[in-house]
């Protein structure tokens, strides 16, 4: 059991609210006086994941567990799933529709950035069922 357990519903139909969950987590980590580098990495990785849920999956749930030695982020959705996770992890590869791209999203950097900024990341996905991304960030700089 973590010391702080936070859950957020990420709405799928409202782009203007995307990023609220990661922003709240960031504020809480700052209030805690958490390691600034870890805060930055959590904020960026979680924001990317949150946007992904909004663009591709019609929203989902974000569960964040904070302990002094780690932050764990679980993003769960019941979206279409990712057919080829390895391909999705390639920088620049995207299935985002045009209307999303005109907003400046969908550059194909979501998953690669999440991997880049976290210390551990796993993606579990099943087509037609949904996707769960699990990320861990440890305090301190990533090597």
């Amino acid at each position: 059991m973590s010391m702080l357990h936070l859950t957020y519903q990420v709405p799928g139909d409202d782009f203007t609210r995307a990023g609220e969950a990661s922003s709240d987590v960031k504020h809480k980590l700052k209030k805690l006086g958490y390691d600034p580098d870890a805060i930055r990495r959590v904020a960026i990785a979680m924001y990317e994941g949150e946007i992904n849920m909004v663009i591709h999956a019609g929203g989902g749930e974000a569960i964040v567990d904070i302990d002094p030695d780690r932050v764990e982020i679980r993003l769960e959705d019941q979206g279409p799933g990712i057919a080829d996770v390895e391909q999705a992890m390639q920088a620049g590869w995207s299935t985002a529709p045009d209307n999303v791209r005109t907003l400046g999203f969908g550059a194909g950097m979501g998953l690669p950035n999440m991997k880049k900024y976290t210390d551990e990341m796993t993606v579990d996905s099943q087509v037609g069922v949904g996707t769960t991304v699990f990320m861990k960030v440890f305090p301190g700089k990533k090597e």
């Binding site: 702080l4 809480k28 600034p36």
Partner: protein
Amino acid sequence: MAEFYHAVTLNEEMCVGCTNCIKRCPTEAIRVRNGKAVISSERCIDCGECIRICPHHAKRAHFTHLTKLSEYTYKIALPAPTLYGQFNNLDDIDYVLTGLKEMGFDSVFEVSRAAELVSEATRKLMEEGRLKRPVISSACPAVVRLIRVRFPDLCDHVLPLKSPMETAAAMAKEEAVRETGLPIEQIGCFFLTPCPAKVTDIKMPLGIEKSMVDGAIAISEVFPELSHKMDHLKSVEPIANSGIIGVGWATSGGESAALLNEKYLAADGIENVIRVLEEIEDERIGDLDFIELNACSGGCVGGVLCVENPYVAKARIQKLRKYLPVSQNHLAGGPIPPVMEWNSELEFSDVLTLSSDLNQAMQMMQKIDEIESQFPGLDCGACGAPTCRAFAEDVVKGVSRKTDCVFVYRQQMKKVASTLSQLEGDAAILPKKGEDEDAD
């Protein structure tokens, strides 16, 4: 940490204990206690938002009064370019500058002159490429203080150059020593300020040890006498010596336009500034080299110590700049003079964190979450804190009691009342002697 000086203060007698200022403060630095606002010294960034919002004029800014001029043999005025936007039908900046001399200043050194040098130095530093991108302007002292308490990760993005005010003071004093032969202590430099943050910046500077400026006089304080003098000038001296770039610093976008590089953003108004800083922190703002941020709407023209509407002032400054050369002040060439640079780094000040011990902070946050769920979430401010969340934090820190919340208080009173009526009901069952039931 040394003691804090703040230019923003409270006049207790005028404070009625309303909730306007607590809601407005960007660092949640104000609480109402015993019917009066109390400003937390560590958290206040002197942005002046509370002065702007207070309907009772109970918030005030401390600044230097004109009487202090007499303490110096040679007095120099350092007018912020914002001053020029305060006058109607002005078509020549020299009217303002000559007017200042009529008021008793021995000389006038425009801050816009130094601003042109700071712009050039910024361009040079940006070209060198050793600054962390995006570079954030350090010209607004309220913004620098905001970053210092709320954005630890952005401290090293702040431009490590002195403000135009500081550079102007250094140059003006050097010039005065050379021309008058007086010792530097007898030369006083007075900044004519649009805002209280600059007053604080002189008393407690960041990035440098000691300010060269001896006082900051509010534009609103010089305005009446200055406009009178300007109306009765016998001759006008040619003093003005800055261009479009320097004068442009008075309004939002002026500093960044001077970089002659379109990869910039200029935001003004404290809420907008916070939004931009949040997005820089999350690396959501890509491909920009420079971020200009001004705590006041419109830029310095929006300062609380100005007399004119910021947008009117902006329009006037635009007109005044029109026929000026682009820039009239230039660095001698070679490296940036060390006197223009900061000599210490901006360090994060963790005044908003719950505890310096992470474990303890986490325990406190658990309690805050738990307590917050008992509040109605209306953020009414009646408890004296800006939000239910901030109030829960105060309760956990032990500086407030849960019953300071009117809703919690009412619930508890209801409980007490129902216990009482129950007791009364129990008592009524007992046989009574000589008492009429209609008596109450």
